[in-house]
Amino acid sequence: MKPILIVEDEAIMRESLQDWLTDGGYQVESATQGDEALKAIEEQDYGLLILDLRLPGADGLEVLRKARAKQPQLNGIIITAYPSVQTAVEAMKEGVIDYLPKPFDLNDLEKLVSQTLGPVQVEIRPETVTCVIDDREVEVRQGATILEAAQSIGIDIPTLCHHEKLSPYGACRLCIVEIIRGQRSRLVTSCVYIVEDGLIVKTESEQVVKIRKMLLELMWARAPGVQPLVNYGMRYGISGLESKGNYELSGASETKFEVEPNFCILCGLCVRYCAEVKGKNAIGFIGRGTEREVMFFPEIASKECADCKECFAICPTGALPPHYALIEEGAST
């Protein structure tokens, strides 16, 4: 499929269009000005131009006209913040696919794109790669992470910030594994690391276990007694972490670190879920270091969250209700 060229001088619009369509699986390039676009068209064939009507130096229709001198079948979609009957008619005469006044729904645009270029062929990469995880050979599709490869043969690598529906985040570091190439070994986070052919992976090496134990203890100091930590505590036999009761009974920690709970491990699942699945961005992070915390943004949350609260279920520690309560309090005062 030939790439799409976006010609738009406004940076925010250009980048968001580009991101959107790239995420949709299209190959997308962009230009900020007419002559830059024409130069690009000079160098390669495009399947579709998305053109802002008003561009510095030239207008979008003119760019399309000139481009067609080189590539007569080239399709165009015009977008504009200054719609008028005259330009719309002119555009239609030029044979553009559509004329979209801003703001428009990116989903609509994507539909038009897919009608024009055909649906993105999910690139079926026939190639697979083979690696060895904990002495077992696994064949997985190219592009799979170590975590996915391990899961495919039932090896359970502990994770806390990973969710298959969400983009990889690499923050809890619990999924760390050891990889070996030749004489050298290295520690990598398996939820992010892409498998290469011939890779050897140890998911529970001595060093890996040592690191996981300390990470769990560090987390426990913030979220003592939460179920996933209790489970992992039992799995790794960390004294003080095997039981929720222990902490609740004594109120103290027998672990290395003094307990100063806030019950959020900052795994970012809620933040990514809200942004990536719900597209709302009602919750985000503020602050740095140990001051970092999640926060519902009142302007958005007061409108969007009452009927959703789906993030509550995704949170491994159950930390969100008190954060959300602040929004409700804010609304009632």
């Binding site: 570091r173 670190f257 900052l266 970012g268 602050g287």
Partner: protein, 636 residues
């Protein structure tokens, strides 16, 4: 000035400017760098303008405001050309005398000259020890250039390297030259620049970016700032040459928000370069197009990390990304992006002009060229110094820095910024280069060099840096956020006398886990200050933990101030100055510090006249109790 369309145009312009200028005409250069600016350089400059006018010299003397000369501590610096007479600590009141004595009578003003340890006055800049032992190939032009005037840069041969690269060399040849020079990144890691360029050039994708890292998050360092403020064109020229070699047409300069003067001077530089056709389309008539945008960063330490910096340029929160693919291949908007430090870029024009061989003649086997250091702490001369790689620590600290003030003993030097390490005196003869510093457990980093004397507590030093890093961790990944925090708690316990031997275990375990598991280099290297102080000063840790003693007498919880009865002269000075009234005594009565009331502010120690020296800092021992209140002094 019109557009320059060839190397000949550039050379003609240079000759034209030179023809206008008389090399023997006196020129007063006033450092207007950030340091001198703070000392009032603008007032000094205005005074020169006014005085030169009132003496009717305006046609006979030039005035130039320049960037930082490096000796900021002695600002405002004024250098008078062509003799290069250097005046230090100049204030606007001094200006009339300088004008009448030096500019009119051609004599020097003695009292404003540098004075060495033997009381000898030194008039010429190049003879001042601080400058004499440096090799200022990158930084030296700062003092000759008004950064807002591109003509100054061009007269010094500026943009000749660009002309050479674009018009006489292929991108491959430029790349080869830089690779051969073995230029290594000045921003921290010391990665070979040419190899990184090549990776970006060879990475798939039409659009590639080149980026200047001017985040300069290291709190003690300011060489990048001084270069950008004082000689912005040198960085820009390097960047354009790099873009040409890599095949990039868009660049970014990422400057921290807190550097307004750098941004201002850069903007002027970009505009002037565009006007002359040195930036933009068809540069110097070569057909090569390239332009740059300035991105003003939030100025957090972690923003300087490559993936965080690129995320910020994309317009998102500047946090490190968990990717195992290098930014040189997939950076800004997943396109190949080559990032180098300010000083790295500034080296490029020199390499193209003089050739890789010239460059490799400076420095050591593995580290070529010079490096600018920010020399601070307990050293007589502080400031920015540029030395060839391989100069020993001793030469930097003693020959250039003038040694340790107040007759104190050298204890250690900390290099490499917050996550660097300390180097004890047994390594004073260590040649300073990337590899040697790493071997002794420290690093080059961005070139910070903090000298410490015998009154420094090494546990306290580690605590200082860990505290800084705890505040700078972005908080995204768990080991960095919580690990540094726990490390800080351990160090606080040690300094407050509340630790036990158990803490030794944590001192070993936390760094190991952090180094192996943190997401970005901030977390991975955060424990270096602890590791390196432990390596060389374990005894101090042991004294704190086991004997509750701070050998350097720094950690407040572990010390007591005590007045030695035999030395007290009952002068009442400490007694009057103690802010909490903790000192008992009176005329002719030996003074006694009430340990319960004492807040350990150290005022008494400071005010006790040196000839008495009656205040002692005790640590790890009981405060002696044998003088009764009301004991009279014995005068010997």
């Amino acid at each position: 000035m019109g557009r320059l369309n060839s190397a000949a145009d550039l050379e003609n312009l240079r000759q034209e400017i030179l023809a206008k200028r008389d090399p023997n005409k006196p020129c007063v250069t006033i450092c207007s760098g950030t340091g001198c600016h703070a000392y009032g350089s603008e007032k000094v400059a205005e005074a020169f303008v006014a005085n030169i006018q009132s003496n009717g010299l305006q046609e006979k003397v030039d005035i130039r405001r320049t960037g930082c000369h490096g000796f900021c501590e002695k600002g405002t610096l004024v250098v008078i050309f062509p003799e290069e007479i250097c005046y230090l600590r100049v204030r606007s009141d001094d200006v009339p005398e300088i004008v009448s004595t030096t500019l009119v009578e051609k004599k020097v003003v003695d009292r404003l000259l540098y004075e060495d340890d033997d009381g000898q006055k030194i008039a010429h800049e190049s003879e001042i020890p601080f400058y004499k032992h440096q090799s200022r190939v990158i930084f030296g032009n700062n003092r000759l250039i008004d950064p807002t005037n591109i003509e100054d840069y061009i007269t010094l041969g500026g943009y000749a390297a660009l002309a050479k690269a674009l018009l006489e060399m292929t991108p491959e040849e430029v790349m080869e030259e830089v690779k051969e020079s073995n230029l290594r990144g000045r921003g921290g890691g010391g990665f070979p620049a040419g190899r990184k360029w090549e990776t970006t050039r060879d990475a798939p994708g039409e659009r590639k970016y080149v980026i200047v890292n001017a985040d300069e998050g290291d709190p003690g360092a300011y060489m990048d700032r001084s270069l950008l403020e004082g000689n912005p064109h040198s960085v820009l020229e390097g960047l354009i040459i790099g873009a040409y070699a890599i095949g990039s047409h868009e660049g970014f300069i990422y400057v921290r928000q807190e550097y307004p003067l750098a941004v201002g001077n850069l903007n002027i530089a970009l505009e002037q370069a565009r006007e002359l056709g040195l930036l933009g389309s068809d540069i110097l008539g070569s057909g090569f197009n390239f332009d740059v945008k300035i991105h003003r960063g939030a100025g957090a330490f972690v923003s300087g990390e490559s993936s965080a910096l690129m995320t910020a340029i994309e317009g998102r929160v500047g946090e490190p990304r968990p990717k195992y693919i290098r930014t040189a291949v997939s950076g800004i908007w997943d396109r190949p992006s080559n990032l180098n430090n300010v000083e790295t870029w500034a080296n490029v024009p020199l390499i193209i002009n003089n050739g890789a061989e010239w460059f490799t003649n400076i420095g050591t086997e593995g580290s070529k060229g010079t490096k600018i250091f920010s020399l601070v702490g307990k050293v007589k001369n502080t400031g920015l110094v540029e030395v060839p790689m391989g100069m020993t620590l001793r030469e930097v600290i003693y020959d250039i820095g003038g040694g340790i003030p107040d007759g104190k003993k050298f204890k250690a030097v900390q290099t490499g910024g917050p996550s660097g390490g300390v180097i004890p005196d047994k390594f004073l003869n260590l040649p300073v280069d990337f590899d040697e510093l790493t071997k002794v457990g420290s690093m080059m980093g961005s070139g910070g060099m903090i000298v410490m004397d015998e009154d420094t507590c090494m546990v306290d030093v580690a605590r200082y840096f860990i505290n800084f890093l705890a505040g700078e961790s972005c908080g995204k990944c768990l080991p960095c956020r919580e690990g540094i925090y726990q490390m800080l708690k351990v160090l606080n316990r040690i300094c407050e006398g509340e630790s036990s031997e158990e803490d030794f275990k944590l001192l070993d375990e936390i760094p190991e886990v952090l180094g192996d598991s943190a997401l970005c280099a901030l977390g991975q290297t955060a424990c270096n200050p602890v590791l390196s102080t432990l390596r060389y000063f374990r005894d101090e840790y042991e004294a704190h933990i086991m004997k509750k003693q701070c050998p350097a007498g720094v950690c407040k919880a572990l010390i007591n101030y005590w007045i030695e009865p035999e030395k007290c002269q009952a002068c009442m000075i400490c007694l009057r100055n103690c802010p909490v009234g903790a000192i008992d005594g009176g005329k002719n009565l030996i003074h006694i510090i009430d340990q319960e009331k004492c807040t350990k502010c150290g005022t008494c120690l400071e005010v006790c006249p040196a000839r008495f020296g009656a205040i002692t800092v005790l640590s790890g021992v009981e405060v002696p109790e044998f003088v009764a209140q009301g004991t009279e002094v014995v005068r010997g």
